[in-house]
């Protein structure tokens, strides 16, 4: 009946969580869902108070605020912090990466969490990757894309490693603040913009002002969202409570993977009913050239960044095993 000191430890009953997304949309709703699950798992001992973006700190400052202990925790898209931890490009938006299912498998059973936790350790942060979004879209376009030549001079609001691939074909990839994307696209200040999955894009009203909605989202085949917690807060909880939060986290992950895919097609259908938007696919030749360019970009990235190389090779090897398994099981 020895009760270890660790299980007696007690952290705050309410955790302040600064979200980088409005909790009204699917991406931010993950924070609320996780909070509910934590409350259930801990028998009501631990609750989340989720703050809207900017309510406590501006979205882009959440990482620093959690690291310094100003806020207990944050709910984020991991790619936001790639300016500080370049490895996060891999988790945020990996072009031609594995599916959400394969990525999740690597994350929890292939060591994926360890690679990032090692990086977050430097910032006194505990990371719990709890949410993976479906493949994003290829973006809203006001020009047809029939070959990679059409990317030349295309003014595209896109971020991350995918932008570097497009730069190789002469695209002008840019930063437009969230509040100005709509007008910029409507008026033609930019020719295209990618934002998120259809369920989230739907709210932006882009379908009214763009001609084409392209697929697939080759630049971001799965993207991770996580709970980040200041370690001083995390360490105050007993092992049991920490395990409760991890359980809640995996339950949230399952929710994100199961509740999203069909919703995207419903959202897509709604958009098509309401507007004249035309849903299209990039042709195979275009995708193949993009893939070839991506291989150059990723080779350069691996050269510059040994942590990225290690994690990327591990991820792709893991994904390969999964692919072989499904190949073996494929039915005609």
């Amino acid at each position: 009946l020895a009760v270890s000191a660790a299980t007696l430890a007690e952290g705050p009953r309410q955790i302040d969580v600064a979200s980088v997304f409005d909790t009204g949309n699917f991406l931010g709703a993950g924070a609320k869902y996780l909070g509910d699950e934590v409350e259930v798992a801990s028998g009501g001992d631990i609750k989340f108070r989720v703050y809207e973006p900017g309510d406590l700190v501006p979205a882009f400052e959440v990482f620093n605020a959690v690291s310094s202990g100003a806020v207990d925790a944050g709910w984020d898209w991991m790619g936001y912090w790639a300016g500080t931890i370049p490895l996060l490009n891999l988790y945020g938006a990996l072009p031609f990466g594995p599916t959400p299912e394969a990525f999740a498998s690597w994350m929890w059973s292939g060591g994926g969490v360890d690679y990032i936790q090692a990086e977050y350790d430097d910032y006194n942060i505990k990371v719990l990757p709890c949410f993976v979004s479906p493949q994003e879209t290829g973006g809203f376009y006001n020009q047809e894309i029939n070959s990679v030549e059409d990317f030349d001079g295309l003014r595209f609001r896109i971020s991350g490693l995918g932008a570097r691939v497009l730069n190789k074909f002469g695209a002008s990839t840019q930063l437009i603040p969230g509040g100005e994307i709509y007008l910029a696209l409507e008026r033609g200040r930019i020719d295209a913009a990618e934002f998120s999955v259809p369920q989230v894009d739907e709210v932006m009203g882009f379908e009214d002002i763009a001609s084409y909605y392209y697929f697939p989202g080759w630049h971001q085949s799965a993207s991770w969202f996580s709970l980040i917690m200041n370690k001083n807060v995390w360490n105050q909880y007993s092992e049991e409570q920490q395990a409760q939060m991890e359980t809640a986290c995996r339950s949230t992950l399952a929710w994100s993977m199961t509740s999203a895919p069909h919703r995207q097609v419903q959202a897509l259908n709604e958009m098509q009913e309401r507007s004249d938007i035309e849903v299209r696919r990039f042709n195979d030749a275009t995708l193949n050239e993009l893939k070839a360019a991506w291989e150059e970009v990723v080779a350069a990235e691996m050269e510059d960044n040994p942590e990225f190389r290690e994690a990327y090779e591990s991820l792709m090897a893991h994904a390969q095993l999964i692919e072989e398994w499904y190949d073996l099981q494929e039915l005609p």
Partner: protein
């Protein structure tokens, strides 16, 4: 409730007391944030967020870059004499219409509103351009200040508007729908201002005199020629700024830089661009921008602490404690927002109010679809928040205007000047409540 919310209430009381000592508003806001953080024993790491909010919300937020650019444009036009001649010629154009100059200002305000959503930028620019001319012509200070402050705030309602983008994202409404929905109400308010000015021209002609007849005689240039001479440049400038947005050459922020370059060119053409002019414009741009931005900087610290001390729970309790029907609740919410607007920023109000109210509003039955109800409510709230820029004693638009009058105009005069416009705002709000079609027709939600 009083004991429970002692600190947030005391904080508001001290804010009001503090600003009336005459010590700069911006510093009162920042100082109170620190004092109450210490009194309320807010942990130090939490206070660290103040810096993050300033960095992320003000410095890294490049929508604010439009402020120095529009201020620069306004100062350049003023110092090169281009602005003065423009408004005088406009006055001649309006002929014998009493208040023609004031009406020109209101129209200019609507035009500015279509190019920017930053209240500080529009109020300061309109003020720099129009105030000296209006006062020189013998306008009563109340008449001149009111129209400038009110028209300068239209930008936050008339699209493009960052306020609507934020509300859209909180309420999960299409930004496009909100832009369409806010257009008529914005224009309606502009029209109400014009009607008011026409009426006042009849009632109090001595408050807004026509151009000095002597001055008119000295300018013997035929009107058509004067128009060509004085209007071509500024009209070209306005068309360039708006046109660059419409033609997709620039975002609204970028259009401000195009305006600044255009103003420089006009000064060159008018042969008024000397080193000393450029230097003074740069210096004044810095001081004026700092005046606007530093209020934003410290207000962000103030509201952080206000919420931390329970201010947001206080507001939630207020909403929860009512047991009213849909219209009663709507009016009560509108009243609440109006009162909060006396001392909180629109961003803070949106974040505190909307998430709590959203589920309530969705369930309210006004005889229209949920989608329409939400869009309608968002626009009503937007009008209300626009009004909050104008309500004394803590109206940002009033402060910005005060900031550029260099002591010529007292704050009491500005307070008095704005009252009729606050009433017009409430009238506009009432019209949109009574006739939801004003809001819902354009987005096709009727």
């Amino acid at each position: 409730m009083l004991a429970e919310y002692l600190l947030p209430l005391l904080m508001v009381a001290c804010l009001f007391g503090g600003i009336f000592t005459g010590y700069p508003v911006a510093f009162v806001l920042g100082g109170l944030a620190i004092i109450f953080a210490l009194v309320g024993e807010v942990p130090l790491p939490f206070l660290g967020m103040m810096g993050s909010r300033i960095y992320g919300g003000v410095l890294e937020n490049w929508l604010y870059i439009a402020i120095p650019l529009f201020v620069f444009m306004g100062l350049m036009l003023e110092k090169s004499g281009v602005a003065g001649r423009l408004l005088l010629t406009l006055q001649r154009l309006f002929g014998r219409v009493r208040g023609g100059l004031a009406i020109s200002v209101a129209i200019l305000g609507v035009v500015m509103a279509a190019s920017t959503g930053i209240v500080g930028a529009s109020v300061v620019m309109l003020g720099l351009l129009a105030l000296p001319v209006m006062l020189k012509q013998g306008y009563r200070q109340e008449m001149a200040c009111g129209v400038i402050a009110a028209s300068g705030t239209l930008g936050i309602l008339i699209p493009p508007s960052i306020m609507l983008v934020l509300m859209g994202s909180i309420m999960q409404l299409s930004v496009g729908d909100l832009f369409k929905a806010a257009l008529f109400p914005g224009l309606l308010l502009g029209a109400l201002y014009v009607v008011y000015l026409l009426v006042m021209g009849r009632l109090k002609p001595e408050w807004m005199p026509l151009a000095d007849p002597d001055a008119e005689e000295t300018d013997t240039t035929p009107l058509a020629f004067a128009l060509l001479r004085d209007l071509v440049g500024p009209v070209f400038l306005m068309v360039t700024v708006l046109g660059s947005i419409m033609a997709g050459i620039a975002t609204p922020t970028e259009a401000a830089a195009i305006g600044a370059v255009g103003a420089l060119l006009l000064a060159v053409i008018a042969r008024k661009l000397k080193y000393a002019t450029l230097r003074d414009v740069c210096y004044d741009t810095a001081k004026t921008t700092a005046m606007i931005i530093f209020i934003v900087v410290t207000a962000t610290a103030f509201s952080l602490i206000f919420k931390r001390l329970g201010g947001d729970y206080m507001i939630m309790d207020l909403v929860d404690s009512t047991g009213l029907g849909p219209y009663g609740l709507l009016l009560m919410i509108m009243l609440l927002i109006f009162v909060l607007g006396f001392f909180l920023e629109w961003i803070e109000i949106s974040y505190v109010i909307l998430p709590i109210l959203l589920p309530v509003i969705e369930l309210m039955d006004f005889g229209m679809s949920t989608q329409a109800t939400l869009v309608w409510f968002a626009v009503l709230m937007a009008i209300n928040l626009q009004t909050s820029f104008l309500t004394p004693p803590f109206g940002y638009a009033l402060f910005y205007l005060k900031g550029i009058t260099k002591g010529q105009v007292e704050i009491t005069t500005i307070y008095k000047s704005i009252l009729p416009y606050v009433l017009l705002q409430l009238l506009g709000l009432a019209l949109c409540i009574l006739f939801p079609a004003l809001v819902l027709w354009l987005p096709g939600l009727v």
